[in-house]
Subunit: 203 residues, 2 copies
């Protein structure tokens, strides 16, 4: 018992692994033992890359996404349409958008969403920086791709309010029945939205 309570290096390692999201005490213990017994090379690499990342990775000055350079490759890419900006909540959402292969514009990553209970307002999610970018006058369209959650909708609303004074096209990605979705299994809220936001059929 005494052994397991002491702050040995092993216990410190287990504790340190708990900084990872959704890793509890049991998982952390399993990870620690796995690394020590079966993957010391991987662990050494993780330790090094983690230190390097903390030193070099920062936010892109334009899109706010993570990058090593002051401005990220995507913002510098000449093949992308710099007149369109898609606003997403997180870097993962940006990657999801990229995976669609359907978007060739720029991004702005909020790195969060408006959530008054967590003390996150428009300032904290970088809206002043988005505003500054719009004020430069090069942006013609803003596509809001925040999540369709309560916070995501509130964030979308706040962005609309801030951008209203500018002569911009502001759009929100569509809600509706997912591709491959069957009406029988869709929740009624989604189906109602799909009905309200119906499009004229193209023949």
């Amino acid at each position: 018992m005494a052994e397991s309570k002491k702050t040995t290096l092993i216990n410190q390692l287990v504790e340190a692994l708990r900084c990872l999201p959704s890793v509890g005490p049991k998982s952390a213990q399993r990870m620690a033992f796995h690394l020590l017994q079966h993957d010391r090379t991987g662990a050494a690499k993780l330790s090094k890359v983690l230190a390097d990342s903390l030193e070099h990775i920062q936010h892109c000055e334009r899109c706010n996404n993570f990058t090593e350079a002051p401005v990220c490759d995507l913002c510098l890419s000449p093949s992308r349409d710099s007149a369109v900006v898609c606003v997403v909540e997180s870097p993962s959402d940006l990657l999801m958008m990229e995976h669609t292969l359907a978007y060739k514009g720029m991004y702005f990553v909020l790195m969060g969403k408006i959530s008054p209970l967590d003390g996150l307002g428009p300032q904290e999610i970088g809206l002043p920086r988005l505003l500054k970018r719009v004020e430069e006058g090069l942006i013609k369209e803003v596509i809001i791709a925040t999540n369709f959650t309560v916070e995501g909708e509130a964030t979308s609303h706040a962005i609309c309010e801030i951008l209203k004074p500018f002569n911009l096209k502001i759009s929100r990605i569509a809600r509706g029945v997912p591709v491959g979705g069957e009406l029988e299994y869709i929740d009624s809220g989604t189906l109602a939205q799909a009905l309200i936001e119906r499009r004229t059929a193209q023949f």
Copy 2:
């Protein structure tokens, strides 16, 4: 697309996090973004403790468990019975035994189990070291606490074979109905074992 495929530091970090057990590409990405955005202190600590652990943590000369010293605290403890050795598969199993508060002897951690398909035989799981410890003549009883899986049972059998020539009490932890278990929900194999290994009632 090009951005997400390049070996940027972020992609390296996501890749490095995949050395953790049961962490796939999506979880690794989530972990990387979480650490960079919300817990740089924790990440820095993880990087450091991981490097320290790899440098200092080794196997105890006596019990084979992880430790910073040549011989671990548990093996050096004067309050424990050095005539009894409990053989477990992993450090987690040792901790589970310790949590019972019902055992005050020594341990031997196999750091694995016999698994011919994975190329793990008696040599790989340190049985020669256990044998050497028994040959010193101080051990009077060996309690085998490997898992009740096919590999665990094979390992248990191999240990029995190796220790047969010595004048030792060799025991296996009991199989049976778990504490709080209801017969209705127990599998028939366990119930059959509980019946075979029944104990004379004590009045």
